[in-house]
Symmetry: C2
Subunit: 270 residues, 2 copies
């Protein structure tokens, strides 16, 4: 899926909502837990309930790995289900991988070739040669961690370098010099709106994947005020706030209502 | 496996060799590729050939994820095989994970509970709350990336902060303040021996997992000169240099010979 296809979908649906599939067997409704494939079944119903209102799905890979083989099977089924039924929806593997070149190539193979995701989140700590194997896939997108939504972001990401810039700014600047950098997107947490202005000065055109609205307390209004650009340039994620809006049999309706509410708010900002 | 158990094994075997299981279907001997479980079968034979000479195995998770469900199955079989047949050998999931707290907990569950690894490599970019869920497992070890073996390490890890210290030094210093930090070990690349002295000033007692000897060109002599401490304090990894020492039917003998050679060299340094 190209960036222009993504922009077209955003305009068409008047939404830049990404639904995070952090599917946890201990949190899905009781009546689904005895299903032979409970994770996929939950995801399938959440997807059918929310596809009209979102332009991306983002399975959080940790939740699938925690379930071992069954988790991987459910992950594969979930991506396939989206591709087959909602081919215009962007799929993001929230995997935050990062390793030396020959290893990064294997992760790229896992998520881009075998699982057929459109995009993957990647950590920058190991630098250029740990990210370029993902960027080598020209039809795919690599979403680099810049400034994350958690408190730990202040441990290293906001530390000032002797050049005067913060580490996350250095990451943004440096990444622009990498091969195929036009396929980069960036993770910027909704909980840190005051940083969006500086970030937009460095990467005015890039898409930002913004977690932290909802359970983590970020404000959609502030994210839009400082983060929107002429092509929208935002993918705002909500996970727990949508998929666990209800833990009962009405979870589909509750998820739909939450997604619809966010889409309506987003339409107002576009 | 406790640190003192590990030290005991190092003394007993006169070795601090970690064998990296970067098992790639396109690189294992031809006669194994038609086996119903080629990855596990290759690993099993490599393990049997090298267990006498090493104190740790480190499967590189990317290589297993790249093979999807079959890869995960092989990974599980491999860890189980080591635990059952060589219970005194330390097992490291080279996964380089790093995410917000609730997600990090899921990765910890995947690698410490389901797969029963003794240790996992973790990336520091997201800070304290992304690492502490791993440290919460008191019988396990968390191996934090400090200064990696690749060229990309110079992009961010060696950048100087306005405090005068390099980012990797800040990572080392800060991590010492985290809860259960005594369970931390650190990744330091063999290709950067001149940094070992500074690193040992910050973390004199900690174990360092050292990749980069062999295919990446690091020198064991230099690593030992600057990295050894009174409890050894090193786990030196070789992957490709051992497991692909031969691509023919004699791969077990070739791997054994390489492992034995490294063990002998290590015995000299201890």
């Amino acid at each position: 899926m190209t960036t222009s296809d993504l922009i077209q979908q955003i305009k068409f649906k008047k939404s830049f909502l990404c639904v995070g599939l952090d599917t946890d067997l201990t949190k899905i409704p009781f009546h689904l837990r005895k299903h032979h494939s409970p994770i996929f079944e939950f995801n399938r119903q959440i997807i059918d309930a929310t596809a009209k209102y979102c332009i991306a799905y983002k399975p959080n890979i940790a939740f699938y790995e925690a379930e071992g083989l069954k988790g991987w099977e459910a992950l594969k089924q979930t991506v396939n289900y989206i591709k087959e039924n909602y081919p215009n929806i962007f799929t993001i593997a929230d995997a935050k991988r990062g390793d030396i070149g020959n290893t990064a190539s294997k992760y790229a193979q896992a998520f881009f070739e075998n699982l057929k995701f459109d995009a993957i989140t990647v950590a920058p700590y190991m630098g250029k040669d740990s990210v370029e194997p993902f960027l080598a896939y020209e039809s795919k997108h690599t979403i680099l961690l810049a400034l994350t939504s958690n408190n730990g972001a202040f441990d290293f990401q906001t530390q000032t370098l002797d050049s005067g810039e913060a580490l996350y700014q250095k990451v943004l600047q440096t990444s622009k010099t990498w091969e195929n950098s036009e396929q980069l997107m960036y993770v910027v947490g909704a909980t840190k709106p005051k940083y969006f202005k500086t970030i937009r000065e460095i990467i005015p055109q890039s898409f930002l994947l913004v977690p932290g609205v909802g359970a983590q307390g970020g404000s959609l209004a502030k994210v839009c005020k400082y983060g929107l650009n002429k092509n929208c340039g935002l993918l705002v994620n909500s996970s727990r706030g949508i998929i666990y809006a209800s833990h009962g049999k009405d979870f589909m309706q509750a998820a739909e209502l939450k997604a619809k509410g966010l889409q309506k708010e987003m339409a107002g900002y576009l």
